[in-house]
């Protein structure tokens, strides 16, 4: 899509009726329309008058034409016969038999399965519903009967194909969505198998029921339904809803007060539907379905919002339907009678600013690097865009795609700027960190670790590994945010033992006694003690970012086991250093901002030891470290057990004190106005 103005408008003669949605043949860039059931029209963009274009009159009524990418258009006749357009055009008057007798086709859909077009359509006869699956190349047709449902019948269908199985979703009049699985590999040739269906979703939410009219599948866990939401005792409201089928929740809904035609299309993460007299395009983004998202606890969850629309009224004052041509066809509902090419200019003027992000990105696909970045910056400047999060996701994806295709291209500053200024999440731009890892862009990784709430453990581990493997010399030349370590590691003189001023001595005499043996070891082995930071400040800051990222132990542990032993020891040494640093203060926190907490440090230490214990025990250089760690932890445990005792005694004192509280009686003045 290059622009939102209509690219063209064609009309049939007065008295002729377009009887099926116009489609576009992707291979030849031709449009195909059918009028008066039998007359095929094929034309190209440059043709102006529909009367003068190619015309073929067929011998039977056409139900629909389906256009498939990589496969030619397929024509479905009302009699249930399917022909490819090529075959038909060779002999337009060839005889088309009727194979479904007096059943009426209700819905059809075409897919590509491998190289093979598959057409599925549903028919109705006397309240019974049948499903036909036609494989064109094999010329096989299977007929299934849809399991009967008492008191309700299907209103709308949609289907998708995955792993050789067609999943047919039916919206029933009892406000439920049922799922029917149709295997594509059908060996038995027996007639009329009955398809059983299973309930996927009940369209009711806290008492109100959604009367769906049409729906589309968004991904494996989400479907969008257009319909009217009726709560008891209230007027029903038309709205567009997205449901999570995994958790049976209503993800989001948008009210459409002006009413709709009841039709909904969805292409490339955009909804198309009529809203009043306006065709509305709405972007949506479905994040990976998670419980958190289902119950609305996820940060920054993306909700769809109106991004752009075509104003119906500016096109013509008469009732007409524009074929808003995207890469695929949009159905036409009623006849259009006049050519609107003369009005195209006005239309273009009316909509100067409504380019959607997706369209801009498509436009920029082949632009030069500088133009590309400039455009994107401009796009970002329009901060008040309603669907900003989703757009940023698209921008990042576009950037990353470009980085992948062009190995020399890597806009580090630009990416950093986006990540730092916007609330992004990993799932919004999953490739970003992969690219950064590849480029060893530690700064970007650090920022991502600090900001993304949902980094998978695998990526966290990959970051850790990169951070540990990068040489100190390289890091010294690199820009890294040192905020988290600045207060406890002296950046300038980190080779000398420096005590920072902020550290308080919170130990009591008893503890001093306890850790005396630790101190003695420190003196004898100055290199192995915890006072000196075992890694450079940059590396420490990077490791801190890893420590503070969220993770789940069970998922991290398998990856952590792959960490080379030497790196594990370095990391452990650093953790030990942090732990000692933490324990210096009575409130067991590190000075400064964005520092890891003691429990984060302890958790990582335990994890690391769990993952590498057998190896670390064997390493001579780790022996010293382990024994120090052991002694220090033991001292801490003793210290805390003493603290617990003191807490108990203090509590008892407080309790006794409270009983003697003398404030059991007072005379106070109260004014009531």
């Amino acid at each position: 899509v290059s622009d939102q103005k209509p690219l063209g408008c064609w009309s049939v003669k007065h008295g002729q009726i377009i009887t099926c949605p116009v489609v576009c043949n992707f291979e030849t860039h031709e449009y195909i329309a059918v009028h008066d059931d039998k007359v095929l029209r094929i034309w190209k963009n440059k043709d102006i008058n529909l009367d003068k274009v190619f015309k073929a009159t067929l011998s039977a009524d056409v139900y629909r034409i389906h256009s498939l990418p990589n496969g030619g258009p397929v024509v479905l006749f009302k009699g249930g016969v399917v022909r490819t357009l090529d075959v038909l055009l060779e002999a337009p008057q060839q005889e088309i038999e009727n194979i479904i007798s007096d059943e009426v086709i209700k819905w059809s859909e075409a897919f590509m399965e491998g190289q093979q077009p598959v057409l599925i359509f549903a028919t109705e006869k006397d309240g019974d519903f049948f499903v036909y699956v036609q494989k064109l190349k094999m010329n096989s047709l299977h007929k299934y009967k849809l399991e009967q449902q008492e008191l309700s019948k299907p209103l709308s269908f949609t289907a998708y194909i995955k792993n050789q199985i067609i999943t047919l979703l039916c919206l029933y009049s009892n406000d439920s969505v049922y799922e029917v699985l149709i295997p594509l590999q059908q060996n038995s040739e027996e007639e009329e198998q009955v398809l059983s269906k299973s309930l996927l979703l009940k369209l009711s939410v806290s008492g109100s029921v959604l009367k769906g009219t049409s729906f589309v599948v968004l991904d494996k866990d989400h479907i969008a339904i257009l319909g009217s939401l009726a709560a008891p005792g209230e007027e029903s409201k038309e709205c567009l809803t997205i449901w999570n089928t995994k958790f049976q929740t209503l993800q989001t809904s948008k009210e459409l007060p002006l009413g709709t035609s009841g039709q909904l299309w969805c292409y490339e993460e955009k909804f198309f539907f009529t809203h009043g007299k306006v065709l509305t395009v709405m972007m949506y983004k479905c994040e990976t379905s998670s419980l958190a998202a289902a119950v609305g606890k996820l940060k920054d969850s993306q909700t769809p919002d109106v991004s752009s629309f075509v104003n119906w009224n500016t096109l013509a004052d008469e009732e007409l339907v524009v074929s808003f041509q995207s890469q695929q066809s949009v159905a036409l509902k009623s006849e259009s009678r006049m050519t609107l090419r003369s009005k195209r200019n006005t239309v273009a003027q009316v909509q100067p600013d409504t380019l959607s992000v997706g369209q801009i990105l498509l436009n920029l696909k082949d632009a030069s690097t500088t133009v590309f970045e400039n455009e994107l910056r401009q796009l970002m400047a329009k901060a008040q865009m309603p669907d900003f999060q989703a757009s940023i996701g698209c921008v990042i994806t576009a950037l990353v795609k470009r980085c992948k295709t062009n190995p020399k291209y890597y806009p580090q500053n630009f990416l950093l700027h986006i990540v730092e200024t916007r609330d992004l999440s990993y799932s919004l731009c999953p490739d970003l960190m992969a690219v950064a890892l590849e480029k060893k862009d530690v700064y970007l990784l650090q920022v991502c670790l600090e900001r993304f709430p949902d980094i998978p453990e695998e990526i966290t581990y990959a970051c850790l590994k990169v951070f540990l493997s990068v040489s100190e010399a390289y890091l010294q030349r690199t820009d890294v945010n040192l905020e988290s370590i600045i207060c406890y590691i002296d950046v300038e003189f980190n080779n000398k033992e420096v005590k920072t001023e902020i550290v308080e001595n919170g130990f009591n005499a008893e503890l001093e006694h306890d850790i005396r043996d630790t101190k003695i070891t420190k003196e004898t082995h100055p290199t192995a003690d915890g006072e000196l930071c075992p890694v450079g400040p940059q590396k420490a800051a990077l490791l801190n970012a890893v420590l503070q990222s969220t993770y789940s132990e069970a998922f991290l542990l398998p990856h952590l086991k792959n960490l080379p032993a030497q790196q594990a020891v370095v990391f452990l040494r650093y953790l030990y250093y942090l732990y000692v640093k933490c324990s210096e203060k009575i409130n067991t926190t590190l000075p400064g901002t964005r520092c890891p907490t003691i429990s984060q440090i302890m958790d990582w230490m335990c994890l690391l030891l769990d993952a590498h214990f057998t190896v670390i025990v064997m390493l001579p250089e780790a022996k010293e470290l382990l024994s120090n760690l052991h002694k220090f932890v033991r001292a801490q445990v003793r210290f805390y057990s003493e603290l617990n005792k003191i807490e108990g005694s203090l509590q008892e004192l407080q309790r006794r004190n409270h009983q003697k509280d003398s404030q059991t009686y007072s005379i106070e003045v109260l004014e009531l106005i």
Binding site: L200, V637, G648, D661, T664, Y665, I667, V669, I673
Partner: protein
Amino acid sequence: MGEFEVHRVRFFGLVPAGVRCLAYQRNGARLALARTDGAVEIYNFAANYFQEKVIPGNEARSVEALCWGAGDRLFGAGLGGEITEYDLSRLCVAHSVDGGGGPIWTMAANSSGTQLAIGCEDGSIKLFEVVPGGIQFERNMDRRQGRILCLSWHPSDTYIAAGSIDAIHVFNVSSGQTVQGIMVSYHMQKVKRKCIVWSIAVLSSGTVVTSDSFGRVQFWDWEQGTLQESHTVSTSAVLSLSVSEKEDSIIVGTSTGATYQFQLLPVKTGSLEKRWVRTKPFQHHTHDVRAVVHSSTALISGGLDAQLVIRPLMEKVQKKGYDAALRKFTFPHRRLVCCARKARLLLFQFSQHLELWRLGSTDKTGKDGEVLPLCRMPEHLVQLKSKGPEHIYCSCVSPCGSWVAYSTASRFHLYQVQYKGNSISVKKVPKVPKLVLPAYQLQFSADSGSLFIASAQGSVHVLQLLEPGGCKHLHTFWPPSGCPEAVYLLAVSADGHWLAAVGGDWAIHVYNLKCFKHHCTVPTYNCAVTALAIHPVTNNLVIAYSDQQLFEFSIPEKQYTAWSRMVQNSGLHKVWLERDSPITHITFNPKNPSHILLHDMYMFCILDKSLPLPDNSALLMNQSTLKQLPETARQWQLHAFKICKKFQPLLFADLLDENSLVMVERPIMDFKTQLPLPIQQKKFGT
């Protein structure tokens, strides 16, 4: 409007007893609760969770288990070894039967309520049949070693599962034989420790759910005797569990005060395989949660911290209303304090003794919020100890302070207190008339000349007090159409002309004291009366109901007053109606006839009838806003409800004279420190 000198009293050392067990009446929406001191309380969920009835405890009668049998009969059993049936209209023990197996630890009724099974100290399980007028021993189950701590019927009534120490057993009800024995053990570092099965439930699928002293909730297949699932929810014991009627949800209570909900959920969406998943944790209690109940819409838990917590399940509640609010009950819904206005005395009622205090005084005045210096400290005058194991039902002190009366289940005492300088003498009035006891409420007349005793079957006795130290029975009022329920609230008019009495059927009868005749009945209203009082000037009866409605009924005219009709027409403020604690006391200011003083647990309110009622858009608690406004601007903001929330939890408030009030508070922390220490949880270290 006015300044008050508030005597803020915090020396009422009431320690509510912990909740020991709960029994939910599935159809009638009543909850029976037993406390560790043996008291039994009935909460009426339909009447906005009002504590409708209280049967005071008895030292000799502990209650370990309660259950509803044969519809609406309530049975209790305890370590005294007896099964007791309670008379819920007379609020006393109807009769009791010895269980014959030593102390009873548990009792459960079958699904139809026709049979009771008890678990005894000697390891026996005995079945009793509920018959009209009592219960009858039916048979013994196989006797096992070790006390039976919990038991549960299979919903089909054919099996009973029982938990004891280290084992659970399943019995066939008709044959009495053990059909399965499962050892529940816990091994830790090769040391075997005793495992106490605290609670048990049998699901209709045959799954047995147990909770034990190692913090585990376990699901057993009783036919195979195998463990299906085990969830460790706590490091300390899981003491109680309850299964929802649909058997898709379980609530458990632990000794750390936490409760957890388990739900039976499909493994995947659409999958038929379901598993029990621990879903919601709640920490409403600070001490052991000894009893839990899973009603259809709420999780109900009771703890040794004396709290009853009703936590609605939001997914089961259809709309915002009374049922959607979290409720916590710690203190009773009735008065335990009585005030002698003229003598400035307070009488505190404890479970087995009374305390009489004289309030202090001050000679200074001050501005709003100031604490005034005391010129006389409050004085603890007398402590009256009730003899015997019975707990006190009710007590009262006369306005002049010279008479104190109280009643237990079987005895009624009247004392004359004489003050001579600094010395006080308490004289028991001999030869009190023999009355049908217990008395449920006592009330002296305003001139301290007579005493009204609320009694069973709707009757009210009138005693005339005579100097020196005597009394005589004058009259007994009976409701004209009879009433099986006892009278639980009394109100007498200041001129000594009228007496209003409310019985357990919530009908309010007004009697004429001059000619000892029934005067009229207030039109019935379908909710429990929580407080009522007669206005000293107009003789209007002000009534507060448990759904927070207020009515004013003119006794001379025998009809609701115009103001009351106006209130009903315009409706009370939404925030007022959404309060969750009932009005427990109403009083008046004789100098300001348009004022009604009322209070509940969390607020004190002066209702000024001369001001307009607030509509829902107005701020109900507007005192702090008003104080910030200049005098002239206040006029437009004034409304009838003047609410003060400074004193909490408020057990009692009364007017001493036209500008001094007494407020009796019982801060939660004060009595929490008197409870046994909860399980210590570490704060330091990892």
